[in-house]
């Protein structure tokens, strides 16, 4: 002890004195000094903790981070990350006074303008959305103007533009790049402003868009919520069922223990994903069913660990001593066995969350877990797999997200193991 006092804890301590030193510092210090004492790097723990916290924050408030709604068809299809999307712009006759969509508003009751668009191109959707937004904005103003354009669809770009030239429509909405290509053929037309102004797609699509024009980043962020919900719920359900069963089986023993262990070992013997597939195939796709399937999968993990620990703690003399002072079975279970068993449960839990996320993603990748309307990484992976040669970003980013979240939880579990159970440290 005296030797330790001469060295402040910052200098490398003797290998033999770390156990004495650990008693004298606080929790934060323990984490910071983890490497020396437990062989765990402090950054290892902190990085994983930051990652886990980050994932949880994103899962709680995906709307704050995601630029678009995960289901909205917000842009062109297959837009690569960083590539700028085409902007739908207004095309009007040279002599028209109209420059922006808002100029086309007409007073209530009068004939609304007709606008030409090309069939099957997302411009129509964008136009509709934008017109509605402007209408909502101006309808309460004193001028009494409304904007409810009739949208005329044409089969090709040329026909659409020709409709404006012919006066069938007051204006057309086409993609900016497409108009540049053909503008020489229509000298009487000119470009107006972008119909969206500088709003919706101004930020572009950082991670690109998928095969139906959804934003990959937004789906990724919203998918975090599903992953976290499944990971935590399934692990908690498995814990809540597995731990008491393990405690009881270990404590009561006898034929109850044998029967339960037989059931649990049978569950355990099944290959995990196959069992989960079987359960979800029977129950049908929904988040709840995925949680049920995965928790059934992990109950035996908790059961086996807790039962084994209970068996060994039960034989400890302090349990017998507790009986000798008149403690009843329930008290012994609650005060003596449970608290001595719970540290190992906390560690399995963290690793288990990672595992559950992986299994959940696996299930929805196979199309069994979740309804396809939900933003989920597994579903995105399965979708991206079909376009792996043309749109690498569709499969890469969900894959990376799964990898990172699993890594974060596993790393944290490992780090916590070493901090809470210093005796496990390899010497």
């Amino acid at each position: 002890m005296t030797e330790i006092k001469q060295h402040p804890p910052e200098t490398p301590a003797e290998d033999t004195s770390w156990e004495a030193e650990i008693q004298r510092v606080g929790f934060i210090r323990r984490i910071l000094m983890a490497r020396r004492w437990y062989g765990a790097d402090w950054w290892f723990v902190s990085i994983s903790a930051v990652m886990v916290v980050g994932f949880i924050v994103v899962a709680l408030f995906p709307g704050l981070f995601a630029p678009y709604s995960p289901d909205a068809l917000v842009g062109p299809r297959f837009l690569a990350p960083g590539q700028h999307p085409e902007i739908p712009i207004l095309i009007v006759p040279q002599d028209s006074s109209i420059t922006s969509l808002k100029d086309m508003a007409a007073p209530e009751g009068q004939i609304q303008p007709s606008i030409a668009v090309v069939q099957g191109v997302p411009t129509a959707g964008a136009l509709n959305e934008q017109a509605q937004a402007i209408d909502n904005q101006i309808k309460n103003e004193p001028e009494g103007l409304r904007l409810r354009p009739r949208i005329e669809r044409f089969t090709s770009l040329e026909e659409t533009l020709q409709a404006v030239v012919d006066g069938k429509a007051q204006a057309a909405v086409v993609q900016s790049t497409e108009f540049e290509r053909v503008s020489a053929q229509f000298p009487t037309l000119r470009e107006g402003t972008s119909i969206t102004g500088q709003t919706a797609t101004a930020g572009g699509f950082i991670l690109g868009t998928n095969d139906i024009g959804q934003d990959v980043l937004s789906r990724l962020l919203w998918g975090t919520r599903v992953a976290i919900i499944i990971g935590f719920s399934a692990s908690i359900v498995a814990l809540v069922l597995g731990v008491p069963l393990g405690l009881l089986a270990g404590f009561i023993g006898g034929s109850f223990d044998r029967l339960l262990s037989l059931v649990m070992d049978s569950l355990y013997a099944f290959p995990g994903l196959i069992l989960a597939i079987a359960i979800t195939a029977v129950l049908g796709p929904s988040i709840l069913n995925v949680i049920v399937a995965i928790s059934v999968l992990y109950i035996p993990t908790y059961y086996r660990i807790v039962r084994g620990q209970t068996l060994s703690v039960k034989e400890e003399i302090y349990v017998e001593a507790a009986q000798s002072i008149g403690a009843r079975s329930l008290e012994i279970l609650r005060l003596y066995i449970f608290p001595n068993v719970i540290p190992s449960v906390a560690i399995i839990f963290s690793v288990n969350v990672a595992d559950a996320i992986l299994t959940g993603a696996g299930l929805s990748f196979l199309g069994l877990g979740l309804p396809p309307t939900i933003a989920d990484w597994g579903i995105d992976l399965a979708r991206g797999q079909r376009f792996i040669q043309t749109a690498w970003w569709m499969i890469t980013f969900p894959g990376l997200a799964i990898m990172l979240i699993v890594l974060a939880f596993s790393m944290m579990g490992e780090g916590l193991t070493e901090i809470f159970n210093p005796k496990l440290r390899e010497r």
């Binding site: 023993g253 400890e316 003399i317 302090y318 017998e320 001593a321 507790a322 009986q323 000798s324 002072i325 008149g326 403690a327 009843r328 008290e331 005060l335 003596y336 608290p339 001595n340």
Partner: protein, 332 residues
């Protein structure tokens, strides 16, 4: 039952169910524990001392079970009590101190919580503050400073923990304290202090103590009376001076001769012939006959009765009994 006897064990049999068959670890043992005495229970390892100690509280679980006998404690037969009422007796009226103080405390519970829990278990109406002050008082009486009560067991030394164990056993109005080899894992200085403490407690609280040990020196030092067990049977019981000064049973004599003495020369230490018998197949007749230096023919076939030799001094040896006269019902 006479008023001066606190605990009267009558024909107690405890069996362990093993794969090889039932093993009688305590076989038809009768023993009286008198009020306010320290009774030493000695014998070799595996002779059934600890099993007997646990049986007094009906603490057996798993393969062991009490298969016969009566346990008269303070005027009632504990064997007639339903097992789920035994926790009311344990801790409240009979306390126990275990062999290894290093492992007999819950490692994740503070010392104070151990004590208050014991009090609350038996007296749920006691307030936290009252239980706390009682625990502190008791601990202080046993030489544990107040501020150390908030520590965890691993922060205490073996002697300290053993004192904590005693304070747990005494937290309520305990009448009988069963100490199962309480000094085995302590060094001699701590052991001496511990034995002093036991004697003080006996005088101060009028405590009755059953001291289970294989250390004959300890028994000679503190016990009022001594009981010697051999191969699941009671061999000899009597006043400590009578038993150690004028042993009747050849086993006790051998045991006493085996205790090393500072005045002995080299190679002078007595070694008893043979080894303790297997309890699965105990020898016929007297269980000690294969090792007995005074063996007679009758010893092979007849079991000796456990009866007085002189006054209160009982022994089960045919040397003092008329062969063939006392055919006890043990065989039946």
């Amino acid at each position: 039952m006479p008023e001066d006897i606190l605990y009267s064990v009558r024909n107690l049999t405890v069996e362990y169910q093993t794969r090889a068959g039932a093993v009688r670890a305590v076989d038809d043992v009768s023993l009286d524990i008198r009020r306010g005495e320290i009774l030493g229970l000695v014998g070799e390892s595996g002779c059934g001392k600890s099993t007997l100690g646990k049986a007094l509280m009906r603490l057996h679980t798993g393969p062991a079970s009490i298969t016969g006998g009566e346990l008269w404690f303070d005027g009632r037969d504990l064997m007639k009590l339903p097992l789920n009422e035994m926790p009311d007796v344990r801790g409240a009226e009979i306390g126990m101190v275990f062999q290894d103080p290093m492992t007999s405390l819950n490692p994740i519970q503070r010392i104070l919580d151990h004590l208050t829990e014991t009090i609350h278990t038996h007296e749920p109406e006691t307030s936290d503050a009252a239980a706390r002050s009682r625990a502190e008082e008791l601990a202080e009486r046993l030489g544990i400073r107040r501020e150390r009560l908030s520590e965890y067991p691993h922060q205490m030394s073996g002697g300290m923990r053993q004192r904590v164990m005693i304070s747990l056993a005494l937290a309520l109005r305990t009448k009988l304290l069963i100490a199962d080899e309480p000094t085995t894992s302590l060094d001699v200085i701590v052991e001496a202090k511990f034995l002093d403490l036991l004697q003080e407690l006996q005088k101060e609280f009028g405590l009755t103590i059953l001291l289970i040990t294989h250390n004959i020196g300890v028994v000679a030092e503190v016990a009022d009376r001594v009981a010697v067990m051999y191969a699941a049977k009671m061999a000899e019981v009597g006043d400590v001076n009578d038993v150690f000064g004028d042993s009747k049973h050849p086993y006790t004599q051998g045991l006493l001769k085996s205790v090393p003495n500072i005045r002995m020369g080299e190679n002078e230490l007595y070694k008893m012939e043979g080894a303790p018998p297997s309890l699965l197949h105990p020898p016929s007749g007297c269980r000690f006959h294969p090792r007995c230096p005074f063996v007679m023919d009758v010893c092979h076939t007849q079991e000796p009765a456990f009866e007085p030799v002189v006054g209160d001094h009982l022994a089960s040896c045919l040397l003092y009994q008329k062969a063939g006269v006392k055919q006890e019902s043990l065989n039946g």
